[in-house]
Subunit: 321 residues, 2 copies
Amino acid sequence: MKRLSELQIIDLISKALAISKKRTIWNDDVATIPLANKLLVFKCDMLVQSTDAPRQMRLWQIARKSVVSSLSDFACKGVKPLATLVSLAIPKDFTGKDIAELADGFKIAEKEFDVNIIGGDTNEGKELVIDCCMVGLSDHIVKRSGAKNGDLIVTSGPFGYSASGLKILTKRARARAGFKDKAVKTVLMPKPRLRFGLLLAKYATSSMDSSDGLAITLHELSIRSKKRFVLDELPTKDEVKEFAKRNRYDFNELVLHGGEEYEIVATIPKRHLKKVRSLAREAGCRLFVIGMVERGKGVFMLEKGKRIKIEKRGWEHLART
Amino acid sequence: MKRLSELQIIDLISKALAISKKRTIWNDDVATIPLANKLLVFKCDMLVQSTDAPRQMRLWQIARKSVVSSLSDFACKGVKPLATLVSLAIPKDFTGKDIAELADGFKIAEKEFDVNIIGGDTNEGKELVIDCCMVGLSDHIVKRSGAKNGDLIVTSGPFGYSASGLKILTKRARARAGFKDKAVKTVLMPKPRLRFGLLLAKYATSSMDSSDGLAITLHELSIRSKKRFVLDELPTKDEVKEFAKRNRYDFNELVLHGGEEYEIVATIPKRHLKKVRSLAREAGCRLFVIGMVERGKGVFMLEKGKRIKIEKRGWEHLART
């Protein structure tokens, strides 16, 4: 029997559940429920140790990361979570020290991201699993579907560092000390862009969290908005290119299909660029303007005047690398 | 290093998280957040296949059960969930048929319990894990802490069937055909008491879901309410006693320390008994009146005029049986 990809599994389950009632399901970064004149925003993100955490990741970092994933989805929708729950499956050989370290990670996340973990559920399991669930309330969310012709495509930071970091951690790829530290830190201590996401919400026409990879994020925004996305540059830095060259990795692969970036990819009307750039600075991130939205479909890269198709291909998690 | 019990783990994590801010955490069936003049009610319940599902449980039944657990917590608080998310860790050898069966189980749960699964998260893991998260809105919840002197202690149904069913499924215990079917069904197809819980909310002074076992539930209500709970009978039936005798099991053990019952244990003022009894009938369950709340502490059983202490001991999940 053929192995199913994650997308096929999502498709099967969401199709089955959508049969009974017409509704949107599994189709934006967060789920929403109309509540009086507001939206209740609801999201779970599950972290599985064997597939989501390289072995160098400490337990407290795993706990922290489980919060980052959900928070990043709230961030790109422009919503601050009200409350957080964490459900845990804990292997039976975990010691009191291990549990205390996990708890530390949650405490660090609470403080670093100003979130409130108000409850949860603990269980015994074969491996560490953390499901982090958040709920929030908002007047509106920035959808994946609102990109307009002429909008600029922007990202809240550079891509390629997390894929590089993972290669350094799991494939012993070589790197300059400065780059190594930065890339590894991106993997072990990912940063969600909550502050920027909240500021951006007023200006963005569409937005999405990029943790499944830049290419798949751009494709998703393009499909949902029914527009063509054309890039003229990649949101990255020379040191990523240098790292790729040194290790004979495909540079585009690292940047476009790496994943686990937790950056916001959004579209904004041109007239807001200056404002959005200053908001990014205010929020401590660097804005990359990487292309434009057009009538049509597909995601393309402009290279020497030619349009090259960008493949719709996501990130393959640890177990498959 | 000594193995930690689930309660110790909960204690460690909740203590660590509660250090930073004064707040209630992990201390009722659901978490709540004040929202204007309402309460946002929020709950996750994680099901782990190796510890929560006997091998006879079909995949669709596991998916259904994952919804039952969270729903039962909402039920005993008197709150109807607004929306549900399911996070899944799926083993890589699951086939399309397996996934379709899981999806079927969610569909069945949606229809049977009138819940809306509006999204979720899928992942690959070493074993099947389902975290079911629900959110709701309510004017108030029935807390664990409200029992008053003179209140009656009631349950929404009999106890001992699920522990018996588990013994039949995992220990080949012998049973009459009729009892066997009923007990096994209690394990494979548990029923949350949502309808009764919603009706009861107006009359109950305290309430709790009993899935960790009757004894621990009574102790928890007693501790939170700062009252003594005195039982004069157990909420069960003769056929459970007969089953215990036939297999030389401790009858009290089956009824008090079995767990996985998903019945509501509540306290009500005496004057509401007639009304609550008729509401139970309306909701299709049988009310058991098992004792009374007194000044003092501890949980006791009246036997031949003597008060015997009921141990505070919960259910040990499958992996430990």
